[in-house]
């Protein structure tokens, strides 16, 4: 009986999450586009719903809600469904939509989509070989094989995003890094842009006029029959066409220049807006946060290096360690069991909520930046895939943040994965990503003022 009640609760919450994913899709991601393929929307919402359900199960685990056997059942069920979606459904549809966009392959869309999917599966399987993820006693088609690979991809993504985010966040927040842009800079650049456009226009007018004259002369020539008139016309059209191709080349070069000038002007406008924003109260608040985050970022990089160098993996989670410290060093006595449950609930809850929110915001920004009406379906599906893998590996890594008694369910369900490997892998990729982001941002920052010196 309790199993039925629990199932109803789980199902209701899944429907709620599905609705939220649907709304997010309609209102945020696709608000400028027409949704024609409902399958994309459904797939996205389903991925979102099942990912959130996993987090919900962790919370229930900590709170002790629902009976333990039904929790275990739902864990298994959820995991199977998510793996099914991430490995079979989403890649197939990505392949299908990519193939649909290429006109050559329109006729045999399904065939090519299947071929793409098989290629994906091949590389997916090969991914597991270089990593010491599994103990050899598992068979080929066990769930651990699939999860381990999904986990590797997801953890890599998480570490890349965290590394870049940890560095980029202080860079964007702090106004120390803002270049100085004045109104006259912008006006000068705009004037250059308009001059270039005018030059393009006048050259195109010459081309059009020359072509029109050639055309008219060509018509007149049809009426002439004299031999030497024809020779004269040949030579004059030849010089005409030589002239034409030269002007055309100049036009192409000017058009390229105009595009670059346009992008530079956009950049200047954006910087000017950021400068204005930084003068407001909100801007000052973010500036302060930026200093705080830069210290946090440096600390994280330091810790990651220590972890790798000294080959150290944390055995206890922050909550227990925090409680130990307070009990042992500060001498404050309180009910460990009671508090550890609540504190870990709050901590895990915060981690979940901020990571979901952060991911959705990043996805939205990314989507606006690179999508167009042709590729929007493919991009949404790719984002759904990333989101699913990110959430699965969050569950993997979150195991470390929970006290021992709650880790058991995750360990039980996910099987015998080498969890330590994942943490080490996360640290390595995080370090690599953070350092390369620092390098990249440094180069970009250095290069920009030089461009404006040339004006």
């Amino acid at each position: 009986m309790s199993f039925l009640v629990d199932s109803v609760i789980m199902f209701t919450s899944q429907v709620l999450f599905f609705g939220f994913g649907w709304l997010f899709f309609m209102r945020q991601l696709f608000k400028d586009y027409e949704v024609r393929q409902y399958v994309v929307q459904v797939v996205f919402s389903v991925t979102f719903a099942f990912s959130c359900t996993m987090f919900e199960l962790i919370i229930f685990e900590i709170l002790g809600a629902l009976s333990s056997s039904s929790r275990y059942f739902h864990w298994k069920l959820n995991l199977y469904v998510i793996l099914l979606v991430l490995i079979f459904v989403v890649p197939f549809y990505i392949g299908y939509f990519v193939v649909s966009n290429i006109r050559l392959l329109q006729k045999q869309r399904l065939l090519f989509a299947c071929m793409v999917w098989f290629t994906f599966m091949y590389f997916f399987w090969k991914l597991g070989d270089p990593f010491p993820i599994l103990s050899p006693k598992h068979g080929i088609l066990s769930i651990e094989q699939l999860i381990s690979r999904v986990g590797v991809i997801g953890v890599t993504l998480m570490a890349l995003l965290s590394g870049f985010g940890a560095v980029n966040c202080p860079y964007t927040y702090m106004s120390y890094f803002l270049r100085n842009v004045t109104d006259s800079d912008i006006l000068a650049l705009e004037r250059r842009l308009l001059q270039t456009m005018d030059m393009i226009v006048s050259k195109k007018k010459r081309i059009a006029m020359t072509r029109r004259q050639m055309f008219q002369r060509g018509e007149d020539q049809n009426k002439q029959t004299r031999f030497w008139e024809m020779i004269k016309s040949v030579t004059s059209t030849q010089t005409g066409s030589e002239n034409l191709s030269q002007i055309q080349q100049e036009v192409d070069a000017l058009e390229e220049l105009s595009r670059q000038l346009f992008l530079e002007t956009v950049d200047l406008h954006a910087t000017k807006e950021r400068i204005e924003y930084s003068k407001t109260f909100q801007g000052k608040y973010f500036n302060f946060l930026g200093y705080f985050f830069s210290i946090y970022c440096v600390w994280k990089i330091f810790m990651a290096t220590i972890n790798i160098v000294f080959d150290r993996v944390g055995k206890t989670d922050p909550v227990t360690r925090g409680i130990e410290i307070t009990v042992n060093y500060l001498g404050i006595q309180f009910d460990v069991k009671f508090w550890s449950q609540h504190i870990s609930f709050i901590l895990v809850g915060i981690i979940i909520v901020t990571s979901i929110r952060g991911l959705l915001i990043t996805l939205t920004k990314f989507f606006y930046a690179i999508s167009s009406s042709k590729s929007s379906n493919v991009i949404v599906l790719v984002l759904a895939q990333i989101m699913g893998m990110y959430f699965v590996s969050s569950v993997l890594l979150m195991r470390m943040s929970m006290p021992l008694e709650y880790r058991s369910i995750v360990t039980e369900v996910l099987g015998e994965l080498q969890f330590n490997f994942y943490h080490r892998w996360f640290d390595v990729i995080f370090l690599v990503s953070a350092l390369s982001s620092i390098l990249f941002l440094y180069l970009a920052h250095k290069q920009a003022p030089e461009k404006h010196m040339a004006l």
């Binding site: 608000k31 586009y33 006109r103 226009v201 059009a208 956009v266 009406s373």
Partner: protein, 200 residues
């Protein structure tokens, strides 16, 4: 050669509706083989004999300024686009007949072009509600063009045509529907019937 009078026309519309292809077709009399995103603005020129055959005949350069981007662009992009909207003689609005959103976005495009002096969010148009008064005082002639008509299945064509008729009435604009044929050979060949183009 530059002594002919010039007429500057803006070609506005969402990404991917076919503005660059349209401009290329009008000016080069050929189909654009590989359309790609327009970054910034691309201009093309056509020589037009106004009132051909009559004693009033005059030859003009028609400059078609094809501005790229979408209405949802960042405000830095919108401020940069505003430099192209100076001294415009007319506006061609292009929308995709298979995509309703692109027609709705045309209101915002027109407002952006006409009220380029005020900030981009100065006049808010929400989801189809708008003020016809704004377009009545508008001195610029507007032309509404719908593309990709052939990609609409037969049974929906009437519905689409009535919708666009309302749209052109709202704008007080002339309307033309373009037929684009996707043939074997991977090229878009666009056949269209022009009624007449007239400018102030």
């Amino acid at each position: 050669m530059a002594t002919l009078d010039r007429v500057k026309i803006l070609v506005l519309g969402d990404s991917g509706v076919g503005k660059s292809s349209l401009v290329h077709l009008l000016c080069q009399n050929q189909v654009l083989g590989n359309p790609s995103w327009t970054v910034g603005c691309s201009v093309d020129v056509r020589i037009h004999d106004y009132k051909e055959g009559t004693p009033d005949e005059k030859t003009f350069y028609i400059e078609l300024w094809d501005v790229g981007g979408s209405v949802g662009s960042a405000s830095s992009i919108k401020s940069t686009r505003a430099v192209f909207y100076n001294s415009v003689n007319g506006i061609v609005l292009v929308h995709d007949l298979t995509n309703k959103k692109s027609s709705q976005n045309l209101y915002r495009w027109t407002l952006e072009a006409i009220y380029k002096d005020s900030s981009p969010t100065g006049i808010i148009v929400s989801n189809g509600e708008y003020d016809r008064e704004q377009f009545v005082e508008n001195p610029l002639p507007l032309l509404l063009i719908g593309t990709k008509f052939d990609q609409i299945p037969e049974n929906k064509r009437n519905e689409v045509l009535t919708r666009t008729a309302f749209l052109s009435e709202d704008f007080n604009a002339e309307e033309i529907n373009l037929v684009g044929l996707l043939m074997a050979g991977f090229t878009d060949r666009k056949r269209f019937n022009f009624k007449s183009l007239h400018y102030d």
